[in-house]
């Protein structure tokens, strides 16, 4: 049975995740379909809603972490650190396979070419680069505040 420490963590995590979805999706329906790709209004509104959704999620994730006891925090840190590292490591062969045209090889209907490769490489690199920058930022902050 879940005690209140775990319940609070799951409750905050649920609110963080479930609340972020409508914030992210609602503007798409508010401004309506039919906007062409690259429409500035759509880009600005959807980017702003993504910022709001992340802020919402981050706020409740932080509350959940703060209300968790040290064992649950330690478990979370351990899982994020090792799970994140393993996930990134496991994605490298997938990146090589797809980047080199593996999908086209498996199914010739899938597109292949320099443009497709660049789009895939950019999409793959962005979260990894962002994670690396986040890691460096928190690492330096921790070092500066703990000496």
């Amino acid at each position: 049975m879940l005690d209140r420490h775990n319940l609070r963590l799951w409750a905050y995590s649920g609110v963080a995740f479930i609340g972020a979805i409508p914030i992210m999706v609602a503007p798409h329906y508010l401004i309506g379909p039919g906007h062409p790709a690259g429409d500035p209004l759509r880009i600005v509104v959807m980017t702003a809603s993504a910022v709001a959704a992340v802020a919402w999620g981050f706020t409740f994730a932080t509350l959940g972490f703060r209300h968790a006891d040290e064992y649950i925090r330690e478990r979370s840190k351990f899982a994020w650190y090792w799970g994140g590292l393993i996930g990134i490591a496991a994605s490298a062969p997938v990146y090589a396979f797809v980047g080199l045209g593996g999908q086209h090889w498996l199914n010739p209907a899938n597109p292949m070419g320099t443009q497709v490769f660049h789009a895939f490489a950019l999409g793959y690199s962005l979260p990894i680069l962002a994670q690396l920058l986040g890691f460096i930022g928190v690492y330096l902050w921790w070092k500066a505040t703990k000496r």
Binding site: D3, H5, N6, D69, E70, Y71, I72, E74
Partner: protein, 63 residues
């Protein structure tokens, strides 16, 4: 790290949930500490020592 938490808890006839409530931690924390799978932080070790009115080294010993 070894500890006498389980014995001390049993002497008082407390369940893991009772002890967890008194320490304001999850029951999983108590279980993990008792089984030696998790070493508590220094603040939590002090809370445990205060609860049982014993010095920390009387509860926790180096393995």
């Amino acid at each position: 790290m070894k500890n006498r938490l389980k014995v001390l808890r049993a002497e008082r006839d407390w369940s893991q949930a009772d002890l967890a409530q008194r320490l304001d931690v999850s029951r999983q924390s108590v279980n993990a500490i008792e089984t030696g799978k998790y070493d508590p932080s220094l603040p939590l070790a002090f809370r445990i020592a205060r609860l049982f009115d014993m010095p920390i080294e009387a509860i926790f010993q180096d393995a």
